[in-house]
Symmetry: C2
Amino acid sequence: MALSDIKPAERNESGIALAVQILKQRFGDNFSTGEALRRQHAHSTTYIPAQLPDGVVFAESADDVQQAVQICADNKVPIVPFGTGTSLEGHVNAPAGGISIDVSRMNRVIEVHAEDLDCTVEPGITRKQLNEYLRDTGLFFPIDPGADASLGGMAATRASGTNAVRYGTMRDNVISLDVVLPNGRKITTAKRARKSSAGYDLTRLIVGSEGTLGVITSLTLRLQGIPQAISAGVCPFPTLDAAANAVIMTIQMGIPVARIELVNELQMKAIVEYSKLDLPISPCLFVEFHGSDAGVKEQAETFGEIAAELGSSGFIWSTREEERLKLWQARHDAYWACIALRPGAKAVATDVCVPISRLADCIAETEVDIEEAGLVAPIVGHAGDGNFHVSVLVDDTNPKEIEALENFVERLNTRALAMGGTCTGEHGIGQGKMKFLEMELGGALDVMRAVKRAIDPDNIMNPGKIVRL
Amino acid sequence: MALSDIKPAERNESGIALAVQILKQRFGDNFSTGEALRRQHAHSTTYIPAQLPDGVVFAESADDVQQAVQICADNKVPIVPFGTGTSLEGHVNAPAGGISIDVSRMNRVIEVHAEDLDCTVEPGITRKQLNEYLRDTGLFFPIDPGADASLGGMAATRASGTNAVRYGTMRDNVISLDVVLPNGRKITTAKRARKSSAGYDLTRLIVGSEGTLGVITSLTLRLQGIPQAISAGVCPFPTLDAAANAVIMTIQMGIPVARIELVNELQMKAIVEYSKLDLPISPCLFVEFHGSDAGVKEQAETFGEIAAELGSSGFIWSTREEERLKLWQARHDAYWACIALRPGAKAVATDVCVPISRLADCIAETEVDIEEAGLVAPIVGHAGDGNFHVSVLVDDTNPKEIEALENFVERLNTRALAMGGTCTGEHGIGQGKMKFLEMELGGALDVMRAVKRAIDPDNIMNPGKIVRL
């Protein structure tokens, strides 16, 4: 993850110049080469320096995407698909320049099949927009990364969020995709049936491919019925270890918890101060149960017994919907709360995921590591999946701090891998985790490279991400 | 699906002769060229004529698999991975000859991480063997195709079964795979964490690839806790339409039913006679609920209301475990029950899967079609997924019957595709469904071909299945 690893790549200057000219003609006002806009499209919530595209196409339809891709393909010019730009590992950087295809205007709901619990949407719609649209149908889409990301981007990075422990990740909730391939052809990866054994699982190949195999132009998604009863609360624990063990026991006992988020003491301090909550500053679990009235009550009681056994002082319930939404908004704002801990600093959010039996150990060792390294770095996690985030607050103009950050991230990833974990539970590889992907899967990367070359022989689709060719 | 489409392919005679010689030396008694054994390894529960491999290697370890693959790769000889040979679309046929790698002796449980709800097994273990092994751990593996198939084969065909409506298919329950690639190298597709965003989803690429991309040598699987309470029963309906609509309402209302199997009248007759059950011969749902005592009671009551509303005469419960197991064994024996309907006939089991809102229509039209075509063909389905099976009883020595069968299968698939469905929910493509895969996904097959060529450039890994190169 050293910054020195993330180099600008060789640019195809003549191809780019020609493509820019043709795109201007074709897209008029929907194409821009203005620097501010290009910078915004290389915007990165990591400390990785921005690498700007040469132009931005605002696509308004799958046809637009196809034409833009075709123009780039004809001139062997890199393409960077762009949704909301909220990815965390440099996914929207353009190390070899090229064209950002911004799909944020493609934000329509194409159809809702309430009777089949699915819907088809354009890639630019955000998760909040979609759930707003669905509100009157009694259905919702459960995947909720911290940012109000676009569904296309969420599929591309195999995003998850707080509900994944119950409802799965984007991997489990995308039924089918329309994708424009690097050669400009559009494919549909699957039909609308709930399951299929029809050939290679192209849907799952594209989910998590981070824009390196094609541009998603529509998604068919599984929806869930809004539960009859929802109950949420915060449960403080004397130690982080006790909280982590409560998570492990909850999962092992098969309680169908909908959300179980672990927040360490420093993160709790940040959240309480930022979101002005009346909660104790100690390691906590944010928990939510979904089900029938009786089911939710039963789940909460069983969980309460586990928590009490592990020394929790007891549940602070958010019974009213308003309180509940405030609680989860505070959880989703953890990133912003972190930044407020050290004004002016950049919060570098990194994630790993381990088998849940190793979660307590992995977080405990990481807390000691943070202490010893003299870092300010709150921890919060989708603990039911074994997935946690460390937000390291750094002055990204200070090379010493960057070096300390990089060393910490390396130790964190090495630790997670040694415990049977993965270098990323939900943020993806992008530019920032390529080295750790290599450490994680070794020879399997040759298969990824072979697949990439087969689908994108000219390496124009979001080059320089996931694997080096 | 015309038989004429399934031709023997060109054979690499000299390569095969050499590979057979080397394999004999290397594997001794664990390699055989005996015809009976070769025929058994091309055994097919379809009507597709057997195409025999030239030899069978009994692999006892991943090293054995690697060496066998390397010998075949060096001589450009086809490899057909073999588990239990219970696949239904000609997956284990060897149209260009070559070597069957039988992994049935690799049937060990490598490790169980009860605390993480996962285990790692060799590919030859069958689902019943695995659940027998797990019995004392309080855990089980839920995927249950009709046959007692091997886990490697189940992953290869993306199998599901009666529990998929609640627990997902092999797609959802494989965490990681070790795979020997066509070049003889072994990769691990993922770490043991419950979720990951680390690069292309190679696990899901191999699941469902039907042995065409590599030989699976180990699987890490998600396990489930055995529910506190299980309740099962049979619910007769006046019409098939009423039964199908009960399924649709159950899913739409979000009842977390563990199993909901639809059995049409003719299939019910077959099952009742074959398994000697005291049940009415009318369209039925076989239903099972998992959960806490209170949860199961609540689910059963809600379902009972739906069934009553749709005219069911009420539930016949199997409260004792013994009765319950008998009920599901009868369901799993549906295939054999069918055969008993027309002694001497072959049961050609074919499956499609449609969005659940179209399930009632699709089955109704199919029943009329069967009637009009003068076929004997019971219907049974994993109705909660929109997936159903038709077992057509044919005299496979009679070309007229084969023609009628082929025409029926073509109409069935065309109907399912027109309703937004897929040509196979769980049996896979093999040789039998290649034409319908083409109809279903069109241009996406070029991507499948590109992936196949990239990973298996010499086309030695189970050639002639899924896509034509």
